[in-house]
Symmetry: D2
Subunit: 339 residues, 4 copies
């Protein structure tokens, strides 16, 4: 491949727009040639606003364009696998948003399609590229905290999604914890053996009625001996709460939230500081740019993408194990989940 | 009772000395009349150093002294129950260090002895009186964070005890986590239903060989719906790590460690701050004084002691449940533990 | 003016490049049509890299282009006044980097030229647009801290500039403190009456030999009664240190430095955190984009620019007063400085 | 002297009581044999409450008691010099609260009396013994921040004293800043050459009417090249604000306030933390005990006291220079102040 890369974006909802702008603002070596969307008017509107040349009526049409080197799959989760497999067959490199699919078999099919076709596949676990999480990873890798003994991940959303979203998302473990499962693998550098979940629907009983949970404490044993605990909530009144603490034989590393400013103010009534950045778009904007940059660099240089198909598959198995643990009230081994 | 209180101290190891000094320095209404110790020379030495009038050859002798209103049982754990029951029969009020005993039946016997005799019984869970933990309790009780959803307790020692100590202490859950079990009950204001533990002996294999663990993540479901997670380690390289985070429907409250000073310093090499106060004597000195003050106040005013016999009993059952969870690799209900 | 704005950039050193990218990445309503530079090869190279259409041989040529609505003057300080006056005469709106000029008379001439020509003039005091400083301004304006009594500004560079730069920059008060003088005016919302400086050249004697200082504590009385103190150093070993504390009748507001990450790590040796972001490009990148946005918005909407010519003039008089205070060892009134 | 020390306390107002308790609680080698007070009933009451054996009708009577090794002068400032001189003549060692006197000549007389009599003299600058300030001193002495370039001291009271107090105290520089002057000498390890003050009475005009100021920024040049700036206010709405920042050639060291707890809490409305400890008794309690311990140790071991008569004298000269600077609106050299 030339030192230039031409991409098409499939799906121009919130995240498709973020990727468009990341590329246009930060990656002069990448061109967004065209977009498409199930709601074609949205694709046309976005193309106009952002100065994109081409609107394809369907993703199939985009895949036939020989100028397109790679596609960014930003459509709804249920369409990812079909599109990714088609893209692989068309010889396009693939960036696919998470989760790849809720079915392990389908994710496996995507991985195999990419391998058969010899195209690159990167999954959108953007938090690996965030400045805070990356620093913890560096400290672990540098041996600063020694062998990892306990990893604590706090991940809480500012507000629950609509009940309808839960129906299609696969539930909290699939749409929210999946990022934390990936982070646990990323930071431990190891694979989970067993998962135990204590969960509840105490934020909103309607979530429980819809068959999901909104609050969970998830304990995981990793092969390297580390014990990881994730705590999740669908609703943190003070905002988006994203922290980790890695504790090891020689010390600990921890990160706090990013804030709108470093200001604190003190009055007769007390001492105040800022709430965390509101939600994932504000909080992780830079990481979206960085993941896209590393995707482009990998394609241009012919090197491996930094988050592989397997990295997309395993968190789904972990999510299924977590669900099973809740259902059966016992620790579940990952080996109990096919895939 | 008069507005004065006269006490005797049984056992003048580290904690017996701390209580002596707390009383002498901060509680003018309380007199330490006498001490005793299995190693009587230690009792004599301490009496001389601290200006205590009487050394009793045995605790029985102390119990016969009609001037003694209350005893502080600071001897080794295996002697607590016997002494406490004798004290109750002698009509002395009792302050007993934790754990009361490793056997639920014996603790029950102590409680019943105190009840029969109509004497007060307070257990030495000093952390309830600490400025940081108390502030979290106040915030929870004031409704600042709404209903409690997730409680996270971090409790890590600076270094493991000698292996011999583990043999007599009942293991990590009994000598260390027991404080965290009490804190969980104190902060949730509720009782545990089920406990699941993921544990390991990765700090020192000799601990594992001695049949104990040194690292644990303990998940507990409480009757009021709160999920609590404790993480323990016998060895935090940077020192004694004592924190909690309470997360609820309206917000969160959290505490960090107390430090020797608030200093930070910045050089070409980085930004530095102080490590936590070294260990429990340094860290909790003020709380020992406060628990003794509230014990004395309760006796003098004829009100209930702030940490009761039941408060001493339940954490022991929780410890036994935790052990069982480790042995059987499954969540254990508290109701499975007799008592 | 149409809802579009076309600009030319004069001088494509470090800051000219920053402004180019800010516009291209964040301001779709603004087009950088062309650039020029005293070193014309640099202009050509930058135009190629950044996809700018036109390279003008001279700034005069740019000023003759009827498509150019506004110019950004990013050349060396000694050329600002001449270019700005020519731009005003050519009817171009002006964004001029700070300081406008070291001579009060010349700055006055620029202001008058802009007023005569009826063009807008904005001065590049970017820190007014920074998230941290802006939050302090908001807190002051909201009355949160009451009447301002004491304002403390810390402003320290990571390393001194080359001695040759000091010769042309006008010295520390003109090239560095000038930002702090502007911040003092911005936050107090008032004008200085008197300035006293205690200064030294203790970072590097060569700076003293060149007739400048490298360390200063600058006390200023403002008309509204506030007392402001700035502390400057040319060399903070730990990096770029940029903080303010505003203290008033009802409380205080303060900001700390922005950091590469929120990570802290603790080992046997101590507790560590990150040093500040390295220097002004890293630290203030977002503020450069925001000042450009507000410049464009003002032109497009026909409203006043947020940092006026007078805002460019007064800090220069403050710098001259500061110098005079150092020379004469006494407080100097601003009214002693012509202008 | 024997390894025991017997002291008498002259004046049992707030600070006399603090010293009594510090000794009784922490210094077994020191006995408070007796007290006296201009208001003799107060002395009797305090002796009863605290178990002190003797009440002397006058300080002269105390000085005649051969069992008294040393006196603590805790009476009102205007009586310090007379009592101290008498104590010296009686061969008693002296601990004298600050300021020794408002007159340089009288302080000088006290120093000379102590020297003639060969008795030890320690002045009550307790902050030198505080954990935070001491850590900064250690970092400076260890060379961690290199040569000291800028020292910033923030010292703000929670509320102004009654106007009548100002009349007798000598004003803000004498009753409040005097601690900061001492701290500046302690931390720089050098002597001041010149002082410039920008001050105002903006907290309360009645303070100005009484001839004093309530807000000040004080710049000082020290002989070793350091520039020090103190900012004072009589009223910080959020409480007692006591911080320093030491900036040097290799870095900086800074301290923040001590807080009632480390708790922070976050809700929909924001993030909160504790206000500083309320006032000097709460904030500096431990330092009072430590200064008394070092006083006793010096006497018992026959070594030099850690804060000498000269250390009591120079801050008074600094206060007079500060006043003169305010009156004359110019920097004042310390050499202009006799003494």
């Amino acid at each position: 491949m030339d030192k230039k890369l031409t991409v098409g974006i499939i799906g121009v909802g919130r995240i498709g727009k973020v990727h468009t702008l990341s590329i246009q603002h930060h990656l002069p070596q990448v061109t967004v040639k065209g977009v498409t969307d199930k709601f074609i008017e949205q694709a046309k509107e976005w193309a106009a606003v952002s100065g994109i040349e081409t609107v394809y009526d369907t993703y199939q049409e985009m895949l036939q364009d020989p100028e397109i080197d790679a596609v960014l799959i930003c459509s709804s989760t249920d369409t990812h696998a079909e599109i990714a497999i088609a893209a692989a067959k068309a010889g396009k490199h693939i960036f696919c948003e998470k989760p790849v699919d809720l079915s392990v078999a389908k994710v496996r099919a995507v991985i195999e399609a990419a391998e058969s076709a010899g195209v690159s596949l990167q999954i959108g676990f953007n938090r690996r590229f965030d400045h805070n999480f990356r620093k913890v990873k560096e400290l672990i890798d540098a041996g600063t905290i020694g062998d990892l003994h306990i990893l604590k991940i706090t991940s809480r959303d500012p507000a629950p999604p609509p009940i309808e979203y839960i129906d299609v998302s696969g539930g909290m473990f699939m749409d929210m914890t999946i990022h934390d499962f990936d982070m646990a693998r990323f930071l431990t550098g190891s694979e989970v053996e067993e998962i135990y979940v204590a969960a509840a629907s105490i934020v909103d009983p309607a979530i429980g009625a819809a068959g999901d949970v909104d609050t969970a404490v998830i304990t995981m044993r990793f092969k390297n001996g580390a014990i990881c605990v994730i705590d999740n909530s669908r609703k943190a009144a003070y905002g988006y709460d994203q922290r980790v603490e890695a504790f090891g034989s020689k010390g600990k590393a921890e990160i706090s939230n990013d804030l709108p400013s470093t200001a604190t103010w003190s009055t007769e009534d007390g001492v105040y500081s800022e709430k965390p950045l509101y939600f994932f778009l504000e909080r992780y904007m830079d990481s979206f740019a960085e993941e896209m940059k590393q995707f482009a660099d990998a394609l241009i240089n012919g090197t491996a993408t930094p988050v592989t198909g397997i990295d997309g598959l395993i968190p789904i198995r972990m999510g299924l194990a977590a669900k099973k643990s809740v259902m059966e009230g016992r620790p579940v081994k990952l080996s109990e989940i096919e895939g």
